[in-house]
């Protein structure tokens, strides 16, 4: 940075760090800046963000990054070790492993993204509504979530996929169905602490309708925890998706999916162990990145001294 730009940014920095903010906007910007500092000061979280962006980029640019088509079978070249032609070798049908892993990123991110988009809003709505309305609505909804939560999420997803039939979209539905109760419970717990606050009472006295209270006042307060939880659960969604793929219940062949690749690699484990190593590392990387980012988000949004 040149001396001039540093001097130019100094007044901004002192505005952001001033002890007594003079406007709502300044106070809001200050808390945002401090939260940003916390995130930036957490190298692991930054690493998580970078990795996630990298994976996203890879998935997006897959056709340009992959060296071969992930579907092209060249049976004469099956089960080859890593080489210059095939960077990670070939699988049992002669397909290039590297390209399949690159395209597999698309599958995984597709699943994770869709599940997050479904589960987040639905869980938040249901949980906040249940928590705010109380009474039999809350009891009923919480009983339902209890039933769902009494199963480990993988088994639940397994059950749903078995019932619906193995396919990529059914896997997404199944995982979403097994993940929403956790978010709903969290939203309800947060709502319980908020619903007796004075400002909620004030808005109610002013005549706000119940849906308005829930949507405009209660849900935004639940948002930080829910966002953190959804981010963290994306890590386990990636693992569950891979697990379903491993059991043959996720994306069906020939779609490249990391869990399914591990399943077929299992048969050739002794001679061609590298077939199993790479897809697993890919799953690990994505899951780890989500966990790191989620942890960093949590520290950023709920700082503890």
């Amino acid at each position: 940075m040149t001396v001039q730009s540093f001097e130019r940014s100094a007044p901004l920095r002192s505005w952001l760090l001033a002890e007594a903010p003079e406007s709502g906007f300044q106070a809001w910007s200050q808390s945002f800046y401090l939260a940003w500092l916390r995130l930036a000061g957490n190298p692991l979280a930054v690493l998580g963000v970078i990795v996630l962006l990298a994976v996203g980029l890879v998935a997006l640019m897959a056709p340009w990054i992959a060296t071969h088509s992930p579907f092209e079978q060249v049976l004469a070249e099956r089960l080859q070790r890593p080489s210059a032609a095939h960077w990670l070798g070939t699988d049992e049908l002669g397909r290039d492993v590297f390209s399949r892993i690159v395209y597999g990123a698309r599958t995984t991110l597709y699943i994770v993204g869709l599940v997050a988009v479904i589960v987040g809003p639905i869980g938040l709505c249901i949980g906040a509504t249940a928590g705010y309305l109380g009474g039999w609505v809350e009891a009923l909804l919480m009983r339902i979530t209890d039933i769902f939560l009494s199963f480990p999420s993988l088994i639940l997803a397994l059950a749903f996929v078995s019932a619906l039939g193995p396919s990529l979209d059914n896997a997404i539905i199944a995982i979403a169905l097994s993940s929403w109760p956790g978010i709903a419970r969290l939203a309800r717990a947060e709502t319980l602490t908020i619903r007796s606050s004075d400002y909620v009472d004030a808005v109610r006295v002013m005549g706000a309708s119940t849906p308005r209270i829930i949507f405009k006042h209660v849900m935004p307060m639940c948002l930080p925890s829910v966002v953190v939880r959804v981010t963290l659960s994306m890590a386990s969604v990636a693992l569950t998706a891979a697990g379903l793929g491993f059991l043959g219940l996720g994306a069906q062949p020939p779609t490249p999916e990391w869990g399914a690749m591990l399943s077929t690699a299992r048969q050739y484990l002794l001679e061609h162990w590298y077939l199993a190593a790479m897809p697993g590392l890919a799953i690990l990387t994505v899951s780890l990145a989500f966990n790191l980012f989620g942890d960093g988000l949590r520290d950023m949004l709920n700082p503890r001294s």
Binding site: L17, E19, L34, L37
Partner: protein, 287 residues
């Protein structure tokens, strides 16, 4: 040690905290001495009074740094002791009474055992002996039915009783100095005087020095022998409690003036007006 020599002398104590905005100095070079008397340290929140107490015992919260020219307990310079050596000081020679017994007592341990533990740390004694001593201490702090109270858990006792248990726990190893950090601030007003009376009694009969930290100027001036007023990390006034109304520093005079009195004819309460010069200007009557 002769009866009149000071038990604790502190010279130029400084305590600092790291913050995103730079190091904040909570205590900025204070010096004082405590003998076999009761010295009160009065200040508002943020004046650094609690940090002073913790710094003496080297129990500052993580991240805080302290520096001092010398901190002598009798002939031992506390500043030079290692953490291991401090274990022999804490409890045995200096104790500290904390503010709120709701939080300062271990919730899953019976109160009697907590007191007995304080004894066994510094004296070789069997479990039974330590229990006997604990029961004696419970009686000394005027708790009726010591045997019944011994087996209670902290959530089963009232505030006043909890604080008396704390006093018993801190006095049982027979220290030379006690630091009382706002010992009555969490108690009902009616209970305060009782607890103070017990503390006073025990401290005088055993010849223990007392450092009484509080924000309550009235309380300190009636209870202690000497008063030190802290403001923004420095001691701005020191005088015997009896001569407090002759205080010279404008901060002290402001505090005294803002205390509401029944006999006063004023229609409005006087509000203390802060002068920024009090922070850094040299203190007029500095010893």
């Amino acid at each position: 040690m002769t009866p009149n020599s000071p038990i604790l002398t502190v010279e130029d104590l400084r305590v600092g905290f790291p913050t995103p905005r730079g190091t904040v100095e909570a205590v900025r070079g204070i010096s004082f001495a405590i003998g076999r008397n009761k010295v009160g340290i009065v200040g508002e929140s943020g004046s650094g009074k609690s940090m002073t107490g913790r710094a003496i015992l080297k129990l500052l919260p993580g991240g805080a740094t302290s520096a001092v020219k010398s901190m002598k307990l009798g002939d031992t310079d506390l500043a030079e002791l290692s953490e291991n050596e401090m274990l022999g000081i804490r409890g045995k020679r200096i104790s500290m009474i904390l503010q709120d017994p709701k939080y300062s007592l271990n919730p899953v341990m019976r109160v009697g055992h907590q007191i007995a533990e304080a004894f066994r740390v510094h004296h070789r004694a069997s479990k039974a002996e330590a229990e006997e001593r604990a029961l004696e201490m419970l009686a000394a702090v005027r708790i009726r039915e010591p045997r019944r109270v011994f087996s209670l858990y902290p959530h089963e006792v009232s505030g006043g009783m909890g604080q008396r248990i704390m006093i018993a726990m801190m006095l049982i190893p027979e220290p030379e100095l006690i630091i009382a950090d706002e010992p009555t601030s969490a108690l009902d007003v009616t209970v305060r005087l009782q607890v103070l009376a017990i503390l006073d009694d025990l401290v005088s009969t055993r010849g223990i020095g007392l450092m009484f930290i509080s924000h309550d100027l009235n309380l300190v001036s009636s209870f202690c022998d000497e008063v030190l007023i802290m403001y923004a990390g420095r001691i701005v006034e020191r005088c015997p409690a009896a001569e407090l109304h002759q205080a010279k520093h404008p901060y002290t005079r402001g505090l005294l003036a803002s205390l509401p009195r029944l006999e006063d004819g004023h229609k409005r309460l006087r509000v203390l007006e802060r002068d920024p010069s009090w922070r850094d200007e040299p203190i007029p009557a500095e010893a």
